[in-house]
């Protein structure tokens, strides 16, 4: 790239400020669309993921299933181990496992739990619920119950219980009232309602109750074991990988949230693909725009190019002038577009605080550098063909003697 080519390219752009500005504005628009789409698709994925996984465990560790196992497959006789129903599904030795889990990278919260089903009785009404016994201080590790308390407090004394808002409404319950709970192990106890929460998830708000870990133990006849370990990880999208590592290090059955949310995954994937197509179109628009502008410019400057060729300019010089012009339009337009997009996206609220109806746009996922790089490359590509055409101009024809 000779200094003379650089000089002539820049000179031509500066000599036609209106045309140059218009072209760059077109590129800038394309780049803004690119960045906006990246930020929107990324933000949307973040929001949907957050909404979906915010209140659920990312990984659940349980005892491996003791399903029937074929021990010796044989045509004549089959040896099968029966499903073992003599033992309860519990993680008997769980304390040593906790530090292993906590030290696994990506894990942000670990909550050993006692789970069981029970019936809430009030007058003649009996409602089935799921009981979650959580350790002190770990109430909000999986779902943020403390923040979801509508009424009362989140304290869990031995006889305290937290119930969901729907359950409270269905049964006409209020904080301070006493209810009777009978567990599926046949134990019955009275609890005082300490707080009412609402997670915005119908199932949880209607069917889940939280209680003290120790109380739950007694209710379910578990002297030392627990039912499951629930885990939060970051980023949530890596749950499957982390689950696989935990399965190997603990020997427990590990289920990631992604297994139960395949539809969400497909949705996010389709969204990302739509975004890619729109981004590709904005690049194609930039290529077509620059290529046609360059072609027009070359037709208009045919005689000038011819005279340069006649007076000793090489093919290479002519090609580099036009490729450089296209590249500069692309690069500067991309920078302008990226800066504009940055300032336009800056005042938007973070994705986590977006109100319903608002677009969840995450500027962090705007792919600014990728947009600038791809656009500049596209602009260079777009000007190569016109530039080569310029270099093929026959001086004699162009000068038209």
């Amino acid at each position: 790239m000779s200094p003379y080519a650089v000089k002539l390219a820049i000179r031509h752009l500066l000599s036609h400020p209106g045309q140059t500005a218009l072209l760059m504005a077109g590129v800038a628009l394309g780049v803004s669309v690119f960045i906006f789409m990246s930020a929107l698709i990324g933000g949307l994925a973040t929001l949907l993921t957050l909404r979906t996984v915010g209140s659920i465990p990312h990984i659940v560790l349980e005892m491996p299933d003791r399903d029937p196992v074929t021990l010796s497959p044989n045509a004549h006789k089959q040896v099968v181990r029966q499903k073992d129903l003599s033992r309860r599904d519990q993680i008997a030795i769980w304390q040593p496992v906790i530090p292993i889990i906590e030290q696994t990278s990506g894990v942000t919260a670990v909550s050993p739990q006692i789970r069981g089903s029970a019936f809430v009785e009030r007058g003649q009404t009996v409602v089935p619920v799921g009981v979650i016994g959580v350790m002190p201080g770990k109430l909000s590790d999986i779902a943020d119950i403390e923040a979801a308390i509508l009424d009362g407090s989140s304290n869990l004394p031995a006889d305290g219980i937290l119930i969901g808002s729907r359950l409270a409404r269905d049964l006409g319950l209020r904080v301070g009232q006493v209810i009777r709970l009978s567990s599926d192990r046949g134990r019955v106890r009275s609890f005082r309602i300490g707080g009412i929460f609402t997670l915005g998830i119908a199932g949880a708000d209607r069917q889940t109750v939280y209680m003290n870990f120790t109380t739950a133990r007694a209710l379910y006849d578990l002297s030392t074991g627990i039912s499951r370990i629930e885990i939060k990880v970051k980023p949530a999208i890596d749950a499957a990988d982390i689950a696989e590592r935990l399965r190997r290090s603990t020997g427990l059955k590990a289920t990631a949230w992604t297994e139960d949310n395949a539809q969400l995954f497909e949705g996010l994937d389709a969204q990302a693909r739509t975004g890619t197509i729109i981004k590709a179109f904005s690049l194609v628009t930039i290529i077509v725009g620059i290529a046609s502008a360059m072609l027009l410019s070359i037709v208009r400057r045919q005689s000038e190019i011819g005279i340069m060729r006649a007076m000793g300019a090489s093919n290479g010089l002519v090609v580099s002038i036009f490729v450089l012009e296209g590249t500069l339009i692309g690069f500067i337009g991309a920078i302008v577009g990226a800066v504009t997009a940055w300032f336009a996206l800056l005042p938007l609220p973070p994705v986590t605080e977006v109100s319903s109806g608002g677009l969840p746009i995450d500027p962090q996922q705007g792919d600014f550098l990728l947009a600038i790089t791809l656009t500049t490359l596209a602009a260079t590509l777009a000007s190569i063909l016109p530039a080569r055409r310029a270099a093929r101009i026959d001086p004699v024809e162009a000068i038209g003697t």
């Binding site: 003379y4 006649a310 000793g312 090489s314 004699v396 000068i399 003697t401």
Partner: protein
């Protein structure tokens, strides 16, 4: 004035394919010029003047005959060799100035040298300023072509033709687009450059008045030299 030939062509022909038919435009030209000569190439429109100048200027190849200049056989030379030869030894002036509209007068004069070198150098700038002085436009250095008159532009084009110190300048109806007064100015300029710099000029024209200012005249008629 040296009597050595700077170029010589003999039996030079040029035919163009015109659809199915072929047109023979130059029908065997024998011509040579010596250093410092100023020659008028006269002839009516369509007689083949531009075609001959274009071939002599290595912008187009002849169909037959010999073409030699400064000891180089230009019929055999490759395209790259001809391009290099052209930028080193030949200058051009056309009927239309064809100045680059984005460049100032000074930059336009430097263009042929800068194109070949890939950059503008202080030496080129110096030489271009001398040439603009010589063509009487020292105060128009930074003007764009659009801000100059037709005569001024053509004088810039003359200066541009001289930037590489060519042996021969080929001028194709250099005054064809100018009024009489501007035309005379340009011809005076060419004559004085011819005398002070010993540059040879071959100037095509169909104007007797212009031809009268040249030391030698050649007449072309229907692709043949009829008087030399």
């Amino acid at each position: 004035m040296s009597s050595q030939a700077i170029f010589s062509v003999s039996g030079l022909t040029k035919r163009f394919a015109e659809g199915e038919a072929e047109v023979l435009v130059l029908k065997g030209i024998d011509l040579s010029m010596t250093a410092g000569e100023m020659t008028a190439l006269l002839g009516p429109s369509g007689s083949g003047k531009s075609t001959l100048l274009t071939i002599l200027g290595t912008l187009m190849r002849a169909s037959g005959g010999t073409h030699e200049m400064l000891g180089v056989d230009l019929m055999q030379a490759s395209e790259a060799q001809r391009t290099e030869f052209r930028s080193k030894h030949l200058g051009f002036i056309f009927q239309f100035h064809h100045l680059l509209s984005d460049l100032s007068a000074l930059e336009n004069v430097m263009m042929p040298a800068a194109s070949a070198a890939g950059r503008e150098t202080p030496a080129m700038r110096e030489r271009a300023m001398e040439l603009l002085d010589a063509v009487g436009l020292p105060d128009r250095r930074n003007y764009r072509p659009s801000a100059m008159s037709g005569g001024q532009r053509q004088r810039v084009a003359v200066a541009r033709a001289l930037i590489n110190n060519p042996v021969l300048v080929l001028a194709d109806e250099p005054t064809g687009n100018l009024d009489r007064q501007s035309a005379d100015q340009v011809m005076d300029l060419i004559r004085s450059i011819n005398q002070t710099m010993a540059t040879s000029f071959l100037i095509s024209t169909h104007d007797e008045h212009i031809a009268a200012q040249c030391a030698r005249r050649i007449e072309l008629l229907d692709g043949r030299i009829v008087q030399s």
